[in-house]
């Protein structure tokens, strides 16, 4: 009996507040916009019995999905989200790998402190970390003032409200997710392999390329997915740092819902985003599984 309660309580909670909402989103994505409360038809009408249920299903169609393919805005937003997420992931890897490598090479007694310094930003408000870049990147911001002062540039660079600012924002906020799995992989690396390679005549760079990189592959893959997946649906970063030409699907969905009040289209946008996300999520799960099996 106790076991039943133990299972049932979290189970029912997740069913009602996680699974059912998704079914509702899916259902509304098949409905039509209407000037009513709630602003879509059909609504399920149990009072008229079977007739009502039949009418309900007859009213569902794929109109919204068709609409998404006809309007440029949406598929451009999906493509540009994929592109921004991919570029930011590569940039995070380029910035994160040397840091993770440096941490793994550092003396043992430094490591807990370095680890804490990496995790600390993660506990700080995401919104504040994104916001902190607004003051740095703006036209009369800190970065431009500094560059003008050094004489590297003669006119302020336009960075805020461009895609560049979005890349910086994503790399900055998701960097710990890239560093931690790579560091975990590098820390386990057997140093005698590198010694053997150098004894056999490899240069340090070749040894790094042939041994360190392949052996940290799992960490690199995990880190890339941990950046790519949340970056794809990002809303805060493009809204604060991006400009009017920055198209990201999370922002489109938010605006479709709140500004246009088009719930069926917003739901259809969400369903497609979910379908796009399933591929990287499944690949990520596979990678994790492989890693667990490798560790036995």
């Amino acid at each position: 009996m106790r076991r039943f309660t133990l299972i049932a309580v979290p189970y029912v909670w997740l069913l009602v507040l996680f699974l059912v909402p998704f079914i509702i989103v899916f259902k509304i994505s098949l409905s039509d916009t209407a000037l009513a409360i709630p602003p879509y038809t059909p609504t399920l009408d149990f009072s008229s019995g079977w007739e009502g249920i039949r009418n309900f299903f007859a009213g569902l169609d794929f109109e919204n999905f068709k609409f998404l393919t006809t309007d440029d805005l949406y598929w451009k937003a999906y493509l540009s989200s994929l592109q921004i997420a991919a570029i930011s992931t590569v940039l995070s890897l380029l910035v994160g790998y040397p840091i993770a490598y440096g941490m793994a090479q550092a003396p043992d007694e430094w490591r807990p402190t370095l680890m804490m310094l990496i995790i600390l930003p993660f506990w700080t408000s995401f919104l504040i970390r994104v916001y902190s870049w607004m003051g740095i990147l703006s036209n009369e911001g800190f970065l431009n003032q500094f560059l003008l002062w050094t004489g590297i540039i003669s006119e302020p660079l336009l960075i805020l409200n461009t895609n560049t600012a979005v890349y910086i924002g994503i790399v900055y906020t998701y960097l710990p997710f890239m560093i931690l799995p790579i560091y975990a992989a590098l820390e386990k690396l057997d140093i005698s392999l590198l010694e053997a390679a150098e004894d056999l005549g490899c240069s340090r760079l070749t040894a790094f390329w042939l041994i360190t990189i392949p052996l940290s592959k799992q960490g690199i893959i995990a880190g890339c997915f941990l950046v790519f997946i949340p970056a794809l649906g990002e809303f805060v970063i493009p809204s604060l740092l991006g400009g009017s030409q920055t198209l990201m699907i999370g922002k489109v969905l938010f605006e479709e819902f709140f500004s246009n009040r088009d719930w069926p289209v917003a739901s259809a946008v969400a369903v497609i985003l979910l379908l796009i996300l399933i591929i990287p999520i499944v690949l990520f799960q596979r990678n994790e599984q492989k890693q667990r099996e490798a560790e036995g």
């Binding site: 979290p10 909670w13 997740l14 989103v25 440096g102 995790i119 600390l120 819902f257 709140f258």
Partner: protein, 273 residues
């Protein structure tokens, strides 16, 4: 043969500068006299004063703390139950769906979670307010709690529980007297994680909050959309300091606990000899 080279030192230095400089600049400029956030006009704490005069911010802060405490507490209970079911529950019907529902919210874009919950609340006619934000936050943070707690449950020796059962404990007593003390640190970290996630959340709260229940992130977001503001700098500085003090003291405490545990283990070994 681990060699800490110049290259490593440089990349760590640049890396940490990149991670911390923006926040340091933010903190410095929160003490700026000028309203123009990019021009330094002398030291002043007037923005902190104005912040504490601003009733809307104080109200939002109170709502946020209330939501965070409630949701992280419920999430810790539910998440621990879920972790126990996943790790110790054995087989039952619908187990795959259950573990799927635990892991899915971790990778779900916030816009989708927020949208789907809002549509649910409207569908069942629940008015949006503190309750709906608490329900929403509990749902995603219980999944984080359960991941943290289940990693602890997996690693600890099951024979301890079995010994308690053999010695006549009921399963519930065994949980309360043996399992819970061992997993307690994980439950506490899970609670802290849930608490920060709730404090931090903008997107899901925007969908599920009603007009009378604005949270601090919603307030901050609508203020900074228009540009940088010195009041928000002051507010950010306060939040950053709270987190920094919290994380550093938590890590010092856990370090001390670890040292004590090691010492006790050593003492136990010596008496055993």
């Amino acid at each position: 043969m681990r060699r800490f080279s110049w290259f490593n030192a440089t990349s760590l230095t640049i890396g940490f500068l990149f991670l911390y400089l923006p926040m340091v600049i933010l903190i410095i400029y929160s003490f700026n006299e000028s309203k123009l956030v990019t021009v330094w006009a002398g030291f002043s704490t007037k923005w902190y004063g104005e912040l504490f005069q601003n009733q809307a911010f104080l109200d939002a802060a109170w709502v946020t703390v209330k939501v965070a405490v409630l949701s992280s507490t419920i999430a810790s209970v539910l998440g621990t139950m879920a972790a126990y079911v996943l790790v110790r529950g054995g087989r039952f019907r619908g187990r795959t769906l259950f573990s799927g529902m635990i892991y899915a919210p971790l990778v779900m874009p916030e816009v989708i979670t927020g949208l789907s919950l809002l549509l649910l609340f409207i569908g069942i006619g629940l008015d949006r307010g503190v309750l709906t934000i608490v329900l929403a936050h509990t749902t995603f943070s219980m999944c984080y709690v359960s991941v943290v707690v289940s990693s602890r449950l997996v690693s600890f020796d099951r024979s301890l529980e079995e010994a308690a059962l053999d010695l006549g404990c009921s399963p519930f007593e065994a949980f309360r007297l043996v399992t819970l003390p061992i997993i307690a640190p994980a439950v506490i970290s899970g609670w802290l994680l849930a608490f920060t996630l709730s404090l931090d959340d903008l997107v899901i709260a925007s969908f599920t909050a009603g007009p009378s229940s604005t949270t601090l992130p919603i307030k901050i977001f609508s203020a900074v959309r228009l540009g940088v503001s010195p009041e928000i700098n002051a507010l950010s500085t306060i939040m950053i300091s709270i987190v920094t003090v919290g994380v550093i003291s938590a890590s010092l405490l856990s370090k001390r606990a670890l040292v004590r545990q090691k010492r006790e283990e050593r003492a136990a070994e010596q008496t055993a000899d």
